[in-house]
Structures are given as C-alpha cells and as structure tokens.
C-alpha cells in the first residue's frame, strides 16, 4: 500500500473542541468528492483528539499550507507532546471563519470551511465528508506542499524519518 503514497498533497485541518478550544492536525488522506456542490472528504485516525472535535462540532477547516509552512506541516503530523499548544509552537495565526467556528489559518495559501454531512468509520480511521461552505484563497499561493518521494525532483524543506515534506523543484 505504500507504493502509491508519494508524492501526496498534505494539508492542515482545524476544529474546535466543545469548550471552543481550537486544535490542528496534519492530514494526508483527503480527497475531493464533488464538483457541484463542492465537497471533500478527510480520513482521521480514531485515536486523535481532533477526531472527537470534528465528531462533536460537525465542522472543520481544511487549510492548504505553502512552502513556508513545511516545519508546521511536519510537526502537526507528529503525536502531540503533552499539553503543547501547536498554534503557539508553530506561530500559527488564526482568524475567525465566516460560517463556522473552526478557525482559519491565515498564513496558509487556502482555507476551506467545511460542514460535515456524513461520517463513516473505516477501520482505524473515520471518513468525514464535508460540504465546502466557503473558500479563502491567498493572492499569491506559491508552490504546493507535499509528502516527497525518493526521486531527485523534490526540494526537501522538513524531515523527520520517514516523513519528508517538500515541494516539486
């Protein structure tokens, strides 16, 4: 199954817990699921705290990190160390979303506000299917961040074996 994993786009997902505290995680398993209306799906590990946030609130923001957010994207994919605040640790600036409570990540190149319309448990992850209620795109997006493969065509920006985050050269 590892064979088709690189290169793979990688994104950040935010969602609040029921106390209104925001959480963020790196997500590799995501896909669009509809042009009209715009919809997408993410698969979230059942053991991650943000799984409960999305289940409880029924919403999330999918944010697309640019090349300048490689360390953030790598770090938010690793297990959280104790009570660390990832927003503080990675200087992740947030902004109020337009239609949902999950925060936008304003340094990312795009943000999609999603309302969960369906969720299915699939093995060790849950698939959350979301309606994209609103989209925010930076004017100058730059290169898309990916999980890099083994060939030479990548510019690696952050590494923590076995994870390599970078862009296409």
């Amino acid at each position: 199954m590892d064979l088709w994993k690189t290169p793979e786009r990688v994104v950040l997902v935010t969602s609040n817990d029921t106390d209104g505290v925001p959480h963020v995680i790196t997500v590799g398993w995501k896909m669009r699921t509809s042009f009209k209306p715009p919809m997408l799906a993410i698969a979230i590990n059942n053991n991650r705290y943000i799984h409960r946030c999305i289940s409880d609130t029924g919403e999330f923001v999918l944010a697309v990190p640019g090349a300048d957010r490689a360390e953030t994207t790598l770090g938010c994919g690793l297990p959280r160390e104790g009570d660390e605040d990832r927003f503080e640790k990675f200087s992740l600036k947030t902004e109020k979303a337009g239609l949902i409570k999950s925060p936008l990540l304003i340094d990312c190149v795009a943000n999609f506000e999603c309302h969960v319309v369906n969720q299915i448990e699939t093995g060790d992850h849950t698939v959350f299917v979301g309606d994209v209620l609103a989209s925010w795109v930076n004017e100058k997006p730059g290169k898309n961040l990916i999980i890099a493969g083994e060939s030479e065509g990548y510019e690696l920006l952050a590494e923590n074996e076995p994870y390599k985050i970078g862009v296409i050269k």
Copy 2:
C-alpha cells in the same frame, strides 16, 4: 478548490458489469482510509457507467499505473467514445483476480482487490469505501504517475488540455 489538485496521484479502477463485462476508468479522487485493516476510498462520478458496475457488484480493483501507462491513464479519464473497448484500445492486459471478479491490470505497478463495505452519495460523485482483500505489486515499480502541476520539475508524458500526466523528474 483547484489550488490543491497538483501534483496528485492518479490510478485506474476496474469493475465488471452484471454481465461480467469489465470496465476501466481513471480516478484522481482516492485516498487510504485505514492502516489496519487496509482500506481505501474512491469517489466516482454518478454519471459514469462504472459507477453502476461498482454499485451492482460491490467490488473493484484499484490499479496503480507506472510511467509507461501515461497515455492509458489520460485516455481512460476522458469520456468513452461510443462503444470503444478501452482494454483493446490501450492494449490493457488483464488477469483474473484472486478473490473478486473485477480484473487485475497486469501491466500496472500494483493492484489492490477491493470489496465495497460502504458507499455514500456526495454531490455529483459517490464515495465507495473498500476493504483491500489482496494486493499485487510488481518487483520493479518505477516512478509513480501523477497529474502534473505548473512548475518545471515534471516530465510530461501525456497531455490533453487541461490534463497533464507525468512523473517527477
């Protein structure tokens, strides 16, 4: 929504109709959804014939094309012309799968036999979630085929605007 679409891995999916006739299509919207057990999901346009095949038979093969299958991957993503037989048109060799009736594509670098355990209609596509019952991997897989973006790091192998299929250089 287009912003995070490249580079994106692209795969082929086969499934039989109820008469046992195999069909094949190119799929860009797919993701893994579980490590244990291995599971994955694909999103298929509700208007494509193979949508009915997968719905009726409850199974499909996800095949990963290599660089030598760029034209096939491009062609199987375009609308079918009349009654054309894509297996013949693209000299796609098939082999009987081990556990399901959908055929393997033996020239691809990997094949995953999938049994549909759940399906959800999401806008203009349907998400089929599959248990991976069996995996077949070639010994020398080569580079993974992708939908290429705009930067210079790609080797383009097949094009039909706006689609560009290639590999990372």
